[in-house]
Structures are given as C-alpha cells and as structure tokens.
Subunit: 335 residues, 2 copies
C-alpha cells in the first residue's frame, strides 16, 4: 500500500494518488455511478453526517426534512442538529415490524431512508419523493441487498459494516452540492478536506466491488443459517423482532424480563459475540430507540438481542451457537 | 491490533476498548493532560476543525475570533466558515519572517495560533490572551518542539505529521465544550460520533510518547543537516524564507523566475521528494498564501521550495541531496 500523501506531487505522492483514484473508479463501477460522485470518509457515521448536514445546511430555512423514528442514530443525530439550527424536521413513525410508514412525501425537501434497519433487520420499502433530495443510508445491508441508486441523491456506506475495517463512502449525485464538515484543502473535490486515508479507500472500494459480484450467491447461502438462529432464539424464550422482508443473515429477539447486557455477558462468556440494540448505543443502559419506535414497552426495549451470520459463517458455527443459546438463555429467562 | 468495535460489549470489543483507552492514557501522559481531555480524530485537519468550529459555534454571535494570515488552510478555512455563519473573524498580518504579529489580544473570545509555520518553518511566539480560549495548531513541529499546553484550551495534532500514518488528536481542556462535527453515538464522550479507528489512536499516542522522550536529542542531531540544506538552497540561487527561530529540520526558499512545480518535478526525477508551498495546496497552480502574507510578490509566491529532514535522515542522504540540488537547480534558475 503506498504510504505517500496523494496531494504531494513527488513520486511517492503520485503512487498514493493513483491508488486513491483507482479505488474511486472501482467503487463507482460497483455502484453504477461516476467516480466524481464518490467521496471517501473516515466512517459510515461521517458519510451520513456529511450527506445530511452538508446538503441540509444548503436548503432554505423553511424546507421540510423528513425521516423515520427507527433510523440509525447518526441519521437522527444529524437531523436533530439541523433542527437545532432552525430547520423544520419531521420524524415519522414506523410500524410494529419496523417499516418506515408513509412512503408518499409531497413537499419534503430532503428525505432520509435506509436499505434496512440495523437492529431488527427489516428491509425498508423504497421511498417515492421525486421532488425531494433522497438520502439512502446504505450502511446496513449492502453485503446482502442490491443497492439501487436510481432516484437517490446521496447514499452512505460504512467500511466497518462492509468488512473493510474502517472508512466510509458517500455517494453524491452530480449537481448535489454540500457544505463540508471540515475545511482546509481541495481533497475530495473540496467536499472533504484533510489527508486522504488511501488504505481505507482501497479497502472500501474493493469490498463494494466484491459485494456486487457475490451478494446474490451469498444471500442464498446465508438464509438457512439465519433461519436456524431465529428458531434458536424463539426456542430459548425470545420474541422475534423485525418483519419480512428481513436481512437474510439477521436474527433478533427480545427476552422480556431480562436485560440485554446480561444476555450479552452470558453469551460472551460462552463464546458468542452478540449485540443488544444498536451496537453504537450498547454498553449503555439506554433502551433501544428502534424497539421503542416499534411500539415495544420501555422494559422490553431494554432486552433486545441481535445475532448475525457473516459471509464466512459456516454450518458448524451455527450448530455451536444453537447449543450455546439452548444452554445459556433459558436460565436467564424467568418465565 | 484488536479488530473489534470498542463500543461492543463482547470480548473482541472489550479488547479494542482496552487498546483505545490505553492509547488515550499514553497520549495524555505525553502531553501532561488528563485522558478525558483527549479526542481522537481521523486527521489533523479534522482536529483543527473540531476545535475551531466546535468551540466557535458555541460562542455568542458577537464574540471576536482572531488568527493570522499565514496559519494553515485548515485553520483559515474553519474560520472563514465561522465568518460565513455570521461570526466576527479577524485575520491579523504576519511579518516578513512569517511571525504572528500582535501577541496582545484584548477582547478576543477565541484565538488560533500554531507551534510553527508549516511552509517556512518559523516558530511562533506564544500568545498571551488570558481571557480568550486559545487554540494551538500543533500539527507542525511536535517532533522537534516542546508542546507546552499551559494556558491552551484546545490543541490539534496530525498523525501523518507525527509519523503515525494517519489519524489525529484534539486536546480539549476540561470545561471547554464543543459542538460535534458529526453525530450518531456517544464515542469520544459525545464529542466525535462514529466507530473509533483504534489502530490510528494507538499509533498517534505512541508517536506523541516517543516525541516527548526523544525530541530534545533529535533536534540537536538534525540541526546541522538542515543548516546544510539551507546552504545548498542558497548556493543554488534560492532566497531563504522564514526566520529564526525556525524548525530545526526545515529548509525553505523561493527561486524567483521559476515555478515551484517545475522545481519539484526536476527534483523528483532526481530522487528528492520536496514540497512547494503547503503540501495541501500543492499540485495546484495557486500561489502560497503564506508567502503572500509575508509580503512576497505574486510571482515569488509561486516558486517556493521546502525540504525537511526527518528522524531517520542521515549524513549520506543530505550529501546526496546537496549534490542533486547543485546539479539540478541552477539549470532551472535563470539569472
């Protein structure tokens, strides 16, 4: 991996620049867009914020901004910030399955939706808001779901979620202008100043290219594994969360009467890395905003558990997980 | 290096969290501050922007913000943004040596200065503005200069400049509150949402610790090398830029009648990686804002050349550089 500064004109810098721009072309091809429409960021969270704050701050102060109550905290956090800055923000409800409601949004100037919910796996319907600038939070799900950017003006991706380790990417359709989050140089066509992280750009672009090639195959392979995980959660006393269509690798449930943290600790000791609610908020004792938005009680929103299979998860690991869930969970779940 | 998410409660996540918090303690010890006062960022540019935009946006709209015309583009860019948002910003002149003028600043609410100028190496005097929140841009120079954070409220560091590859760090004195640049999770005590880059935090903290231990020794070793580089630039027809005290590893000059790009290309072909003006702006045909601020003509501001020695630069490399400068530059410099 070239270690030079892509903005430096000497040989080392040019090698870094070539790697960076090659990655931009690779990512663009994987998404079916133009290289100039790709902005590399340090994380999915930064991509979401650059898209929403960057475009939102350029809207007229009275232009309505719309999203849904179970979107990721990075989306909701950026929109709360826009609201604090004096812009009208409307957060619509989701239904009991976690689906975004009211897909018809006349009058909205900026709409933020997602490929799939990151806690309960519900795959979101496409939004039709032809007059609005549409942001697609594609941080969750691009390994499994086709990413269709028709009608989308902004789309954000997370390197961590793509298996690229770190970094992120924001698609910005030609003609969509952004106020940067940080200033200080012409990098990324003035949309993100600061020395580029070439290694993460290469990794994110490669991951997107591999996703495009492999996802159809991978999603068929993983489906039966997730079905087994969901069955195991049910059998251990869990009430499944989310609704079909669900991410093909996803299993989540609540275990009323327990606390998510206790479940995680017990599973961790037994060798399963699970999550409770949003990983971004877990570790805290806060209830899941997703489960609350889906209408679950405050108590039930504290006891979510999420298990996911990855591209490399095999039958043997699922068998081991089933055995652990069977032996660990019933003792914690007081009927 | 642990690959887990420090916000995840399972074993892999806890290992990542331990590495992250260990780095925070290491960096804090190296700077003589508290771990809670350290915010890890993706770059020096982000650290500068988080400090200035983050603190600046919380000031009353009428509070004066002050900096100098030869500061780095990330500082000037962030302040231009604050000005665009309706805040009074005053950019003071520098003198012909690149020194920040008017170190006495009554009435300023936020002042941004630096350890040393990044293009001409001039070491800046300390600013006395006891009533202001003082930001120290320490991206340039912490390998060579002691970093004294007494009286400083915010200080930014660059992983790339520290030899840590990437990443950055912002010191935020206890009690100084920031509006984040990005939202979406409680990471870095709510000051920077988004999954942490643990590897870069480890690298930045380690670099700062090594700097603290080694810089006195290193700066004595490098001084004679930089003296030789400066002599070689002079002998080849250059007019040295900057003034004493200068960074001990630094040599810079203008070559009137040439273009910085042409000098760089010629040196690059001969095997020297040099910079023209700010590396962040080089590659463009823009004149150096630093040289312009120092009173050089538009023409002279296009022909700057910067050479620096590093910790690992040896006598033999300097000898080779001298020979190259002697053979390459005179042909380009038309008397």
């Amino acid at each position: 991996m070239p270690g030079g500064n892509p903005s430096s004109p000497h040989g080392e810098g040019r090698a870094a620049l070539a790697a960076l721009e090659g990655s931009r072309e690779l990512a663009a091809r994987a998404l079916g867009v133009e290289p100039a429409e790709i902005v590399f960021t340090s994380s999915g969270t930064e991509a979401v914020n650059l898209g929403l704050l960057g475009a939102g701050r350029r809207l007229p102060q009275s232009a309505p901004i719309v999203s849904w109550a179970a979107e990721h905290q990075s989306v909701l956090g950026a929109l709360r910030r826009l609201q604090l800055e004096g812009r009208p923000v409307e957060i619509l409800p989701v239904d009991a399955g976690g689906f975004n409601t009211e897909a018809d949004l006349p009058g909205a100037a900026l709409v933020s939706t997602s490929l799939a919910n990151n806690e309960v796996g519900t795959v979101q319907p496409r939004v039709h808001a032809p007059e609005a600038l549409l942001h697609l939070d594609a941080c969750q799900g691009p390994q499994w779901l086709d990413v269709d950017l028709r009608g989308v003006g902004l789309a954000s991706f997370s390197g961590a979620k793509l298996g690229a380790g770190r970094g992120g990417l924001l698609f910005v359709r030609a003609g969509v202008r952004l106020d940067p989050l940080q200033y200080g140089g012409p990098q990324e066509r003035g949309r993100r100043a600061g020395r580029e992280d070439v290694a993460s750009a290469v990794a994110v672009a490669t991951a997107l290219a591999v996703c495009r090639e492999q996802r159809a195959l991978r999603r068929e392979a993983v489906k039966p594994l997730a079905v087994r995980l969901r069955r195991a959660l049910s059998a251990a006393g869990g009430r499944l969360t989310g609704a079909e269509p669900v991410l093909p690798n996803h299993a989540s449930a609540v275990f009323p009467g327990t606390r998510g943290e206790d479940l995680l600790m017990a599973l961790d000791l037994a060798g399963i890395a699970a999550s409770s609610g949003s990983v971004c908020a877990s570790g805290s004792l806060d209830p899941s905003h997703v489960l609350l938005a889906m209408g679950l009680s405050l108590e039930d929103s504290l006891c979510g558990l999420r298990l996911t299979a990855g591209w490399s998860t095999g039958e043997a690991e699922i068998g081991r997980a089933e055995a652990i869930l069977r032996s660990v969970l019933p003792a914690l779940v007081q009927p």
